[in-house]
């Protein structure tokens, strides 16, 4: 099941440079789209491909593109979301630093499809060295005639810029990202209006994740149908998975969607098994926001079917026994790890990253961190478990943006599947104190 599209050439020496990238077929999608296709035809191929947003939400990309408003005389923008900040996720950093031209090629082809003459790549500020790599590659692309005025003599003009963030997880939420790109605090906007109608500076804007934009390259080159033939059901194509935690081979892997989870964890081609010969305890399969699952439920669904790396299979059983593919941030915990302590690092994270706009999230994330701090540091009481449950329920669904849900789900799932671990931790400290 190894099918590589985005990382087909990632190990070629010098693939960061324009010459080597071009030698391996780079920029063919720009040539094909600009010279032989209409913008509408490119959008149609993306629709046919079944590509879904790779940042975490999994929304169909072709549909998102078709919502873009096209009023006369108003500029449209493509903004690439490279604010990769979901704990456990580092695939975009790998792709951008390793094969920067792949993203730039996808940006040009996508911009042509959307009728955008300017695009911005918003990169989290901590990735400043990646920004330097992208800016060098963009310079090469201008020099080779893929950017600027009248590209390939087709009359299509395009300028591309890289924008650094200032350090804020919330700017991965697309409207917060746009606020930040306008030079403001990253407070998410109330939707509607959606960015497709009123986005950057009030103009129609598409915001897509790095990996989503990169996937447009093989879709245009080989056709939407060929892309849709890869994967399983509505989970078409390939996905970059960031594997980390207690495994032998952490790293970024491109998988064909539909790969069995068990194979992903144990095969030497991927994670290479749990480290130190230990047993698997739990997995956070799609970045910190998604529900944590115990070993048996990540390997098999509640109905006993093998769990697959796909949007549908990982979600099978809903939140009672399933999780989400999310951003593909796959965090593995071995039998010695404390799910409660790991959860405390997540709670601290969300408290730190809440933008403060909505009270349930601003106050609730702080409460959850405090209660978990208390439990982890030996002062927990049994009633704290119910208090945590109550807190997360009061955040979920009550905020402008999904950060509130993202903070609530890890807490809910940890209590759902590992309640006894909370109890043991509280009891053992109670004995100590007695």
């Amino acid at each position: 099941m190894s099918k590589k599209l985005l990382l087909k050439h990632d190990h070629e020496p010098g693939i960061q440079t324009y010459e080597v990238y071009r030698k391996h077929g780079g920029y063919a999608s720009v040539e094909k789209a600009l010279k032989t296709m209409t913008p509408e035809a490119v959008v149609e191929e993306v629709k046919k491909s079944g590509l879904r947003g790779r940042g975490g939400a999994g929304f169909p990309t072709g549909m998102k593109w078709s919502f873009l408003a096209k009023p006369e005389g108003v500029p449209r923008y493509l903004v690439c979301n490279a604010d990769e900040s979901e704990p456990g996720t580092f695939k975009d950093r790998y792709l951008m630093s390793r094969i920067p031209h792949y993203l730039i090629e996808g940006m040009i082809t996508s911009s042509f499809a959307l009728g955008a003459n300017t695009s911005y790549i918003y990169v989290r500020g901590e990735y400043y060295y990646v920004i330097a790599i992208l800016e060098k590659a963009i310079k090469e692309a201008y020099a080779a005639g893929w950017l600027g005025k009248n590209i390939l003599g087709t009359g299509f003009d395009h300028d591309m810029y890289v924008q650094p963030g200032g350090g804020a997880y919330i700017c991965g939420e697309e409207t917060a990202l746009l606020e930040s790109l306008e030079g403001k605090r990253g407070n998410p906007r109330i939707k509607p209006p959606f960015p497709a109608v009123k986005g950057l500076w009030g103009c129609p804007t598409v915001v897509n994740n790095v990996e989503t934009i990169a996937a447009v390259v093989p879709i245009v080159n080989d056709g939407g149908e060929a892309y849709a033939a890869i994967g399983i059901g509505k989970s078409t194509g390939t996905k970059l998975i960031s594997a980390s935690g207690h495994i032998n081979k952490p790293g970024v892997y491109e998988i064909e969607l539909g790969l069995p989870v068990e194979e992903f964890i144990n095969s030497d081609e991927y994670c290479g098994g749990v480290w130190k010969g230990r047993k698997l305890k739990a997995v956070v399969a799609g970045g910190s926001s998604v529900p944590v699952l115990p070993a048996d439920l990540i390997m098999k669904t509640a109905a006993g079917e093998p769990r697959l790396m796909s949007y549908e299979s990982l979600a099978d059983g809903g939140f009672a026994s399933g999780t989400m593919l999310g951003s593909g941030g796959f965090i593995v915990m071995d039998e010695t790890a404390s799910v409660v302590k790991n959860l405390w690092t997540f709670a601290r994270f969300y408290h730190h990253e809440s933008c403060g706009q909505c009270s349930p999230c601003r106050e609730g994330t702080g409460w959850m961190e405090k209660v978990l701090h208390k439990i982890v540091h030996g002062h927990g009481e049994m009633k704290d478990i119910d208090l945590l449950w109550d807190l997360q329920r009061k955040i979920e669904g009550n905020t402008i943006c999904p950060l509130g849900d993202a903070a609530a789900w890890p807490v809910a799932s940890a209590i759902r599947h590992f309640r006894s671990e909370f109890e043991e931790m509280i009891n053992s400290h109670a004995v100590e104190h007695a």
Partner: protein, 179 residues
């Protein structure tokens, strides 16, 4: 009183170039990149006169700068050491020993998290996920990601930074390793 804080001419030229990346009238968009430039040029932190200068360059109110710098975690509103050691403390790094790295640094440098060594060389700061989970535990210093850390590796990084004796910043050139 005359505002004496100013960008060096070459930095000002770069600032103007950045401001040209946005449509006419939308120059406020340059605020985040310009604050990074300012922080690198003025000792790694943003004092009020520096923020006021950035406001003036862009042509916005000073309050618009303050509300941004108080929101984002990368802007330091207090002085920091020459080398700001930013250690990731979130899940994957924590699972692979980030706490040991922090306590090793605290012991070695004789300061606590959030403090600066008396010689002004190092500041220890714990930060949230830096997207380096596959090479955990990690810390960032300037633009450089130091990955797959253990205590020996931390020691040699500190020695090297001390020997260089330079202020690190996010614009440092980084040699990207071959994967």
């Amino acid at each position: 009183m005359e505002n004496k804080v100013q960008f060096k001419p070459e930095t000002l030229a770069l600032a103007k170039e950045i401001m040209g990346r946005y449509p006419e009238g939308k120059q406020k968009s340059a605020l985040l990149p310009l604050l990074h430039l300012a922080q690198a040029e003025f000792n790694g932190w943003l004092d009020v006169p520096v923020m006021d200068m950035v406001a003036e360059v862009i042509g916005i109110q000073a309050i618009e700068v303050y509300e941004v710098t108080s929101f984002y975690s990368m802007y330091n509103l207090k002085p920091v050491g020459n080398c700001l050691l930013e250690i990731c403390r979130t899940s994957s790094c924590w699972l692979r020993g980030a706490e040991d790295i922090v306590s090793h640094l605290e012991n070695k440098l004789g300061i606590k998290e959030g403090e600066t060594t008396p010689d002004g060389m190092f500041t220890i700061k714990t930060v949230e996920c830096l997207g380096s989970c596959g090479t955990a535990p990690m810390m960032q210093c300037g633009a450089q990601f130091h990955e797959n850390l253990d205590t020996d590796k931390v020691d040699s990084i500190l020695d090297k930074l001390r020997a260089d004796g330079k202020r690190t910043n996010y614009f440092d050139a980084v040699v990207v390793k071959e994967y």
